[in-house]
Amino acid sequence: MELNVLMYLVPAIVMFGCGVYGFLTRKNMIAIMISLELMLNAVDINFVVFNRYLFPGQMEGMMFTLFAIAIAAAETALALAIIINVYRAVRNVDISEISKLKF
């Protein structure tokens, strides 16, 4: 069976939707971060697929994906550090409880 571009894109969009849904509804900050990763990875898949089907023989999309993964790793580390610090301060990782940054 010839692989269609849709076969890559549909899982990616489902993944992205899950990420968005998770990001908006989860209360646990770790879970929110996992949702964020889902969205990122969905985008990465899109990059790779479009690169493969639209511009075969070029590598920009692949490069961007690698770049995004690296950034995502750094960002995750930073986010975890923040979460740990927040947890230390308020003994909680429930995001609805942490709304001090306003006004």
């Binding site: 990001f23 908006l24 995001i95 942490i98 709304s99 001090k100 306003k102 006004f103």
Partner: protein, 667 residues
């Protein structure tokens, strides 16, 4: 330059003010008094030198062709408004200025000397602020001298303000007493109100005539030209020529200082000041500044009959009004204060009636005018009375001071029967009373007689009215005299019997009494006339006789009522209780002023304005702030702090934008 030393007459008191004022407590009390008095003595000697040279000397330009000239000694520019309107600070000598120099320095010297004793203690304590007192006296003397030698009307205004302030400071000398503070405030504000009109008068006059200088305003031939110029330029306002407005306004300024009705209310209260101050400022010198002002501008006034009529009516009314009140006062200083108001009104009236024979050109055949040398008699009489009155009123006040010093009260009920205890004061006071009552040969007789003649020349009614007031004067003065020195011999006067005061206080009394006896023989008609030409006068026996008669009637009545303790005054009081009470309360003028200032100005103007400012104007500004904050509060909840809410908002926004974009592309 002739008379160049006259600058010292003005400068020396100013120097004294600065020296005594700046050194203050660093000088001993006694030293300050002595320095002040000696400086004043020097000033007096110099002023006499100036005046005597001016009147009797020759060859210094003071008399040309038999006419006394104005000698301008010194006239540097002080403040330049425009090329024409320049305020100068100068010294100009004319007959009345020279006369005033004598009056001011004489009385001031007497008061300086008298105060050495009078001010040495206050209610048993050594007086605080003795140095300050002498400094203020210096300031006052300087201001008053500066006023009389003024070369231009603006200089007069400047020194009007200065004497006002000196008066304020001296009335409020006992500044710990609320009554004194209140009186000083009242004096200043009432005269300030009058000065406002004076200023407006100056503005109008100077705008339409283009000058401040007396020389060009009233100098030879100047007056008519200026009035014509002003009237032509300014036209009329409300049917009255602009010059008449200006002159009336200027008169109101003078009326404030000279305590003419209805601006007189400050003067009786001003008696809260030390008595020597009352003698100097509120009897002899400052209060005649208004008369002096009108006299200075006399050549202009005679050309504006309307303004003159206002002065005459105000003067004649005030003379009677104040005399009537003086009959009922029990505080001896207030009685004297009302007497002062009445006498100054005499001077004003006299000035005002004298226009009738000048401007209206009464036919030369008019017998009375002919006999008395005609024109400007009233002017001469007024200035003459100013001179004599200064002497005997200062005398009366200083006597009152000595009495108050001895018995420690201003009320005549605390006195009675003092003639045995204080013989010198008693005699001096009697001389003062005789002088003011117009009994020959004392000073007041001569001057008052001329005033009455001038009034008769204006009209029989004027003459009779003023003669009646003269009779009233004799009555209230002797009422005062008899109540103080006679009435009852058995009065208990506190712990120690009152006695004549220290020599520093009695010597001025004796000197002033002597002057009051002889001052009437000064040949004023040769010296102080409006046009500088000698005036030929002679005694009019009808007028003189009738006025003496009326005066004697007044004295007789007073003698009958007040010589010995009896109940006649009480019965009279009861018979006319309404009138008496009204007069005792000064016809409620003070209450009226109180009402206007407190109820109308403070409650109905200032308070609402302050409220308006805080609530409406400031309220609007605060409202703008509040509205801004309110709007901010409305949009603030968007920033909820909940990250997921932000994301949702972002997502919706992004979707809406995307949808819009797609819609645009498709359509």
């Amino acid at each position: 330059m002739p008379f160049s030393y006259s600058i010292a007459v003005v400068a020396l008191p100013l120097l004294m003010f600065l020296v005594l004022g700046l050194l203050d407590d660093r000088l001993g009390r006694r030293t300050a008094g002595v320095i002040g008095t000696v400086a004043m003595l020097v000033t007096t000697v110099l002023a006499y030198g100036v005046a005597l040279t001016y009147f009797f000397g020759t060859g210094q330009g003071q008399i040309v062709d038999g006419i006394r000239q104005t000698v301008t000694v010194w006239n540097p520019a002080w403040l330049t408004f425009t090329e024409d309107l320049v305020v100068r600070m100068g010294i100009a000598l004319d007959p009345i200025a020279a006369m005033m120099l004598v009056v001011i320095t004489t009385v001031s010297l007497m008061v300086h000397l008298y105060s050495l004793g009078y001010m040495s203690n206050h209610e048993g304590e050594p007086e605080k602020g003795y140095q300050r007192y002498y400094a203020f006296l210096g300031l006052f003397t300087f201001s008053m001298l500066g006023l009389v030698v003024a070369t231009n009307i603006f200089q007069v205004f400047i020194f009007f303000e200065m004497v006002g302030v000196s008066s304020y400071l001296l009335i409020g000398f006992y500044y710990t007493s609320p009554a004194a503070v209140h009186a000083s405030k009242k004096a200043f504000i009432v005269t300030r109100l009058a000065d406002l009109f004076f200023l407006l008068g100056i503005l109008i006059l100077s705008f339409y005539t283009g000058t401040f200088d007396f020389e060009s305003l009233v100098g030879t031939g100047g007056a008519a030209a200026r009035v014509a110029q002003g009237s032509a330029h300014g036209g009329t306002f409300m049917g009255i020529s602009i010059m008449a407005w200006a002159l009336t306004f200027i008169f109101i300024g003078g009326a404030g200082k000279s305590a003419m009705y209805p601006l007189h209310i400050w003067l009786p209260d001003a008696m809260e000041g030390p008595t020597p101050v009352s003698a100097l400022i509120h009897a002899a010198t400052m209060v005649v500044a208004g008369v002096y002002l009108v006299a200075k501008l006399f050549p202009l006034y005679v050309l504006e009959q309307g303004a003159m009529d206002v002065i005459a009516v105000v003067g004649a009314f005030t003379a009677f009004y104040a005399a009537a009140i003086a009959c009922t006062q029990s505080d001896i200083k207030r009685a004297l204060a009302f007497s002062t108001i009445s006498q100054i009104a005499f001077m004003m009236t006299s000035l005002a009636v004298s226009s009738s024979d000048v401007a209206l050109a009464v036919s030369p055949s008019d017998a009375l005018i002919e006999i008395h040398g005609g024109r400007g008699l009233g002017y001469m009489a007024s200035m003459f009375h100013l001179f004599t009155h200064a002497m005997f009123k200062a005398l009366l006040f200083l006597c009152a001071g000595a009495i108050i010093h001895a018995v420690g009260s201003n009320e005549n009920s605390a006195m009675h029967g003092l003639h045995k205890h204080m013989p010198i004061t008693s005699i001096a006071f009697l001389i003062g009373c005789l002088a003011i009552a117009g009994i020959p040969p004392f000073a007041g007789f001569w001057s008052k007689d001329e005033i009455l003649v001038a009034c008769y020349a204006k009209g029989l009614g004027w003459g009779l009215w003023m003669t009646m007031v003269a009779g009233l004067t004799a009555f209230y003065m002797f009422r005062l005299y008899l109540l103080i020195f006679f009435w009852s011999d058995h009065k208990q006067h506190g712990h120690h019997a009152p006695a004549d005061a220290h020599w520093t206080m009695t010597v001025p009394l004796i000197i002033l009494a002597a002057i009051s006896v002889v001052a009437g023989f000064v040949p004023a008609h040769d010296m102080v006339t409006w046009d500088g030409k000698p005036l030929h006068t002679q005694l009019d026996w009808t007028v003189a006789g009738s006025s003496v008669l009326v005066a004697c009637l007044g004295i007789g009545l007073a003698w009958r009522l007040y010589y010995k303790e009896n109940d006649a005054p009480e019965r009279m009081k009861a018979a006319a209780s309404g009138l008496w009470t009204a007069a005792y309360h000064r016809f409620y003028m003070d209450e009226l002023y109180q009402f206007i200032t407190h109820k109308v100005i403070f409650q109905c103007v200032s308070k609402p304005i302050a409220w308006f400012d805080r609530k409406v104007i400031d309220g609007t500004m605060n409202l703008m702030g509040t509205v801004t904050q309110y709007c901010a509060a409305m949009v603030r909840p968007l920033q909820s702090g909940k990250v997921q809410a932000y994301v949702l908002t972002y997502l919706i926004g992004a979707l809406v934008l995307a949808a819009a974009l797609i819609a645009c592309v498709l359509i």
